[in-house]
Amino acid sequence: MMNVREWWRRGSALIWFSGATLGFSLLMILGLVGYIGAKGLGFFWPGAIVASTTAQGPILGEITGQEADKIQFHVGNRDLFGQDYRWVPRAELGPLSTPADAVVVERLEYGPFIGRIRSLEKDGQVLPGDPMETLRRLRPAALAMSRHIRDLDKVEIGGLNRKMEDLRLEMKARPGLEARMAALKARYDAAEARLEVLRAQAASVTVTLEAADGQTKTLPLASVVRLVPSNALGVAGKMGAYLSRLWEFVADDPRESNTEGGIFPAIFGTVMMVLLMSVLVVPLGVLAALYMREYARQGLLLRTLRIAVNNLAGVPSIVFGVFGLGFFVYFVGGGIDRLFFAEKLPAPTFGTGGILWAALTLALLTVPVVIVATEEALAAVPRSQREASLALGATRWQTLWNVVIPGAMPGILTGLILAMARGAGEVAPLMLTGVVKLAPSMPLDGTFPFLHLDRKFMHLGFHIYDVGFQSPNSEAAKPMVFMTALLLLLVVVVLNLFALRLRSRLRARMGGGAF
């Protein structure tokens, strides 16, 4: 009894308790990241393609779930079977085998096909020889062709389309441009014709696949994205397929209403939105804090203002979204449209959600964090340094600019890091101010003026919501949700590391640990 009391009195209890709490928090975080990582990263690994029989006939697919009395198969072939996943009672299941000729064919439409390759055809004529061999030989050309078609469609025809749109608007204002319009139209038609030829060419080489139940499906070779004969692959081959899938996920555009393909536009949109927000929030927060700390008279009014700023940080983010929509989008954006883009009305340019408005809304949401951090950093700059500067004949403003603000910079960056961490994870306000499920073009690209602040954009956080809850095929989307979440975490971590590095370099330049 005495011992426990002594133990308590010496504070050991508190040390143990706080240590345990910290350990528990770390464990939760690790668990969270580990769970998401395991669920997401495992998805791309090519599993065995298992063949068996059921009461409804033969079945072929990857085993994706097991319960006491039933097994879940990913059978693919959405176009033939209607659903990708099937639960089969164990009692109905025949013996399992892994046929070496089974393949997963990833294609542009309807999700993966799981089955066997029956034959390859050119202009409807079956090509002789082993179909797998022939397929390997013809695929590089087919892939190059489909890339070519995509480029022609997106870059050339898309570019001509935009030019014609611009010219159409110009013609409203002043006539006499018909000749230019005609020239553009001619080029457009020529490109379209070329595209038609290419498409026909691409469609002439086809592959016929056979599903487990004997149904066949013929599709152009150019629409085959990847071929994974899992059962025939060694570890190296599986690794290759894994990395190739992972790369597609990170670097490609989404397909099939976001349930297939990659999420590159969402990564890009997220990073760009956060950077834009940072560029906006730092001057905003630093100037406000400078005024509050250095110029304003310290008194009741300022104290009230401080409390208000702190409370701003607690306002639910959707409220900021509503404000952003009402003020930035409709009022400011609408005003800009009436002033500068009147010829395009009623189609809005800035008067609709866009990356600029989203970033501004988030900047407003995160500015209290920056203000508080900056105020603390300003207060922490030693008085003696200010005096040294003033004693050398510097004005107050010179002292602020040359000594106080540089000295407070690491603290300001701490504020920015916190703001970025908060801003990158917000979804609700973005849904009102500029995020979309599928953006036709990125906010930064090769067409003038390169940075398109009026464009809508994709965002990882919204992508999670969209794929997870709005997708028609939720079972197929589940791994995508985990992978996207993992990437969102990664983006936040990378952005933070970047800012941390900046801060430590600043500190080193200032003479190490001076702060």
């Binding site: 030693p382 040294a388 004693a391 040359n402 190490g512």
Partner: protein
Amino acid sequence: MQAGDTMTDVEPRQGAPRKTEVPLTDTAVLSAKPLLHIEDVSLFYGPKQALFNIDLEVREHSVMSLIGPSGCGKSTLLRCINRMNDLIPNVRIQGSVKVGDDDIYDPAVDVINLRKRMGMVFQKSNPFPKSIYENVAYGLRIQGVKDRAVLDEAVERSLIASGLWDEVKDRLKESGLGLSGGQQQRLCIARAMAVRPEVLLMDEPCSALDPLATSRIEELIFELKRDYTIVIVTHNMQQAARVSDFTAFFWMGKLIETGLTEMLFTNPRVRMTEDYISGRFG
């Protein structure tokens, strides 16, 4: 043979502390004309009076030390000379402080300009978190000097004058905060000198330094008085005796006695001064 080799390598040690017996006054300072005139200065921090009717003159190219127990108003008086007290709210000053013929509390006086003429070195060394070079160049940069050659010249001149050049000339780009305490204080002196002030105001510049660094600064002060008029606050009476030509003794905000250092220390006129310098109170 071995011994002979090493003998030739040994050079006389540079920078070893010299125990200089500083001659207390040279006759030149006696004939120098006064530069600073402090006339009947009283200062109030809010309701509290910190200085009472101070009258003091500081001659050109001389060193004046202000001594007295802590809290007696030495720093306050020093800060009157470059108007640093202006920065403190609710300060009220009466009387006049003149540099040459200019009253520095005249409303027409440009404080910024005044502070350029009055260099200040603080009790705690306070280099900026910038490179050594930028620390010294700071005063010129805020005056708008951009010419690299001018800046280089000023940095080198000031660092040589403060005796720091040989120690830092190869690492001017490194942070000033990486220097030792004594080096930092000499960097601050160089920084103050770079703008060529007329007067150097030093507020206990050695109080945070070890004896070796202190003696370096004291030697420096002795050299600097050729070019500058120096007012130094110190709580160390030996230091006052070593470096200054004149000494002023303060007590509770009042100037008790002032005169040639030699005289004040050997033959004080006021009893209180005698008690203080002999260590009977303080």
